[in-house]
Amino acid sequence: MNKAKRLAALALALTLAAGAFSGCWNKDDSSSSSGSGSASGGSGKVYFLNFKPEVDGVWQTIAKEYTQKTGVQVKVTTAASGTYEEQLKSEMAKKEAPTIFQVNGPVGYASWADWCADISGSELAGHLREGVGVLGDGEKIYGIPYTVEGYGIIVNTAIMDRYFALEGAKAKSLEEINGFEKLKEVVEDMQAKKAELGIDGVFASTSLLSGEDWRWQTHLANVALAPEFDELGADMTDAKTAPEISFKYSENFKNLFDLYLDNSTIDAKLSGSKTVNDSMAEFALGKCAMVQNGNWGYSQIAGVDGNVVKESDVTFLPLYMGLPGEEDQGLAIGTENFLCVNAQASAEDQKASLDFLNWLFTSDEGRAYVKGELGFIAPFDTFTAEDAPADPLGRAVVEWQNRDGVKNTPWDFTIFPSQTFKDNFGSALLRYAQGSLTWDDLIGSVVADWKTEKANIA
């Protein structure tokens, strides 16, 4: 009797333990089962750590289809928004580390250099368009961009047309707004007539909650800093370039930032609790006429419940801030997403990974996914002008890219020294918006932070 009891206890304990560990086992099961048919497809495996949560589902479909077609096992894991570096750090320490991952430019490369294989000899690298920036030293290529993105001021043309039709409007069409002065004139007049226009403010709220401030401390700052980098002769492939800045065009940054704060749907002091989602929702619901964001924001606008903005009513304006030569200024177009192949993975896995990427960006099936469902503006010669993405903002980016006589601003923020620099910048902007920090002090802290954080890069 006693023995039976003990046996029963043991059995129960084991069941419990099995239950506790079954989570881990299950995971292994699923990944090995999807590779069970791989006998025919060589020995390499692909593991991609995806950066963009909004397209996770598409990647899973692509992985499945590729496995069915070739028998090569493809695993795609997506990092939750804002946690890519964390995920990558822990995944890379594992035995089954990602074979394809991404770094966000030279600064990201500085910490992942040991893992980035030279892929200059690959077929895909040969398909890169002329003049596309890569991660590398001129000869070797360690990372290739997979999508080009653009940002500016997203405008609701339906509201603008309503304004242009008003008596005494400061402009009669969007084309007339080709510089900061005109933009300011129009915006301030619109703000004064917001009741007539049926909006709460011209600009969506300036989201300055920590973690939600990248539109200002990264994107807006980029436009103001890019000409300074040019003057400094900064090398955009080197993380340590531009060890010091003077924030020469800070006054221009302030021009536009003040315009956002003063002509917003909310009191500038309340910006500290607003998120990017809040801003995009205000735009989608027609409560404001403009919002600064990029082409990726379209899915967000379209996805808001009760969205009143028609697809044909959305377009871009450049971020005019009174910079010299702004009559030719275009959107900020570039990329911070560089795909790298893990140099520490086995040779078979590296080859399988390159084959997978090559299939995705050159084959007809792969390209259909890229332009249709991933919505990428891929910088490869296998994509023509007709392959532009379907959404209006993506199309606008391609259009600006090909417009004559326009100087689009490059994405130079890939050489910003660290996330800490950006976070500090963002919180300084918040304190400026709340009125507890003067603009001069803000410039001082940005310049000082840049120097210390740059010096920290190994």
Binding site: A13, K269, S418, N424
Partner: protein, 284 residues
């Protein structure tokens, strides 16, 4: 002999699995963490030995983040240990008086403890901002809003749990002692201080230990409620370690060094506190 064998068998069944799990998921990473604090690394597998460099950088960092986080954490810990224990003890006294609905109240007060820290953080952020917006500010305006916000949140979450411990302690105070005190003409206050309190000292020990370490180690609530805003002024130690490790290029080792220092501090404080309160406990 028979008995030791039997013991060995039960030991294998009940302790060994836990022991293995403890070794694998606690002790091994812990030792590795100490080793890594002397290294420069990106992932835990490519560490390169750099000696005490990381520890020096903790204190020479021009931002002074660690020291600021330490003083903020210390202040927060003192305030919340005092408030949590006072309120919890007062509630426990109230709910051991045989009032109507005692059980209902105990449950209600205990419930916030069942909600996760992140969720509580966001809920309180909405509540506090809702109030502050009435005055045209929000929680990111001033470090003092964040500080008191955290104190309120911590109280909300921990009072119920501590209250239950105090209730158990109070129920174990021998009624004859209280009766004797009453017969001797002691006032209610005198009874409380000289009879009840010495008898619940074991509960006080446990509760101060729990509030002290929990306040010192606070992370989720801090991350969700203020995220360190304004600037990094309300970032506590755990959040600062996290930010150092993940948000700066080349600072992983420094974050690790901060974590080791953090461990030493928590350990030392907890040890001293246990020593002090234990000495006040009475045998009955």
């Amino acid at each position: 002999m028979q008995k030791t064998l039997k013991k060995a068998r039960w030991f294998t069944i009940f302790v060994v699995p836990t022991l293995l799990a403890f070794l694998a998921s606690f002790l091994a990473p812990f030792l590795m963490g100490i080793y890594l604090s002397f290294c420069k690394f990106t992932t835990v597998t490519n560490a390169r030995w750099v000696g005490v460099d990381n520890y020096l950088r903790v204190f020479t960092d021009p931002g002074g983040d660690f020291v600021r986080a330490l003083s903020f954490t210390a202040l927060f810990t003192v305030v919340s240990v005092v408030t949590v224990n006072l309120f919890a003890f007062a509630l426990a006294l109230l709910l051991t008086r045989g009032l109507r609905g005692t059980n209902l109240f105990r449950t209600v007060f205990f419930m916030p403890n069942l909600i996760g820290g992140i969720v509580l953080g966001y809920i309180w952020q909405i509540i506090i901002n809702g109030v502050l917006l009435g005055f045209g500010v929000d929680i990111t305006f001033d470090a003092k809003y964040g500080f008191w916000g955290l104190v309120v949140l911590m109280n909300w979450q921990l009072i119920g749990y501590m209250m239950i411990i105090y209730v158990a302690g109070l129920q174990n105070v021998p009624p004859e002692l209280i009766e004797a005190a009453e017969i001797d003409g002691a006032s209610g206050w005198q009874t409380l201080i000289h009879v009840t309190l010495p008898n619940v000292m074991p509960s006080v020990t446990i509760c101060t230990f729990l509030t002290l370490t929990n306040s010192f180690k606070l992370f989720d609530q801090n991350l969700a409620l203020t995220g360190g805003a304004p600037g990094k002024q309300t970032a506590m130690l755990a959040l600062d370690i996290y930010n150092t490790f993940y948000k700066r290029t080349g600072w992983e080792g420094v974050g690790q060094a901060k974590a080791v220092l953090f461990f030493l501090m928590v350990g030392a404080i907890a040890f001293i506190q246990l020593r002090l309160t234990r000495s006040k406990e009475v045998e009955n």
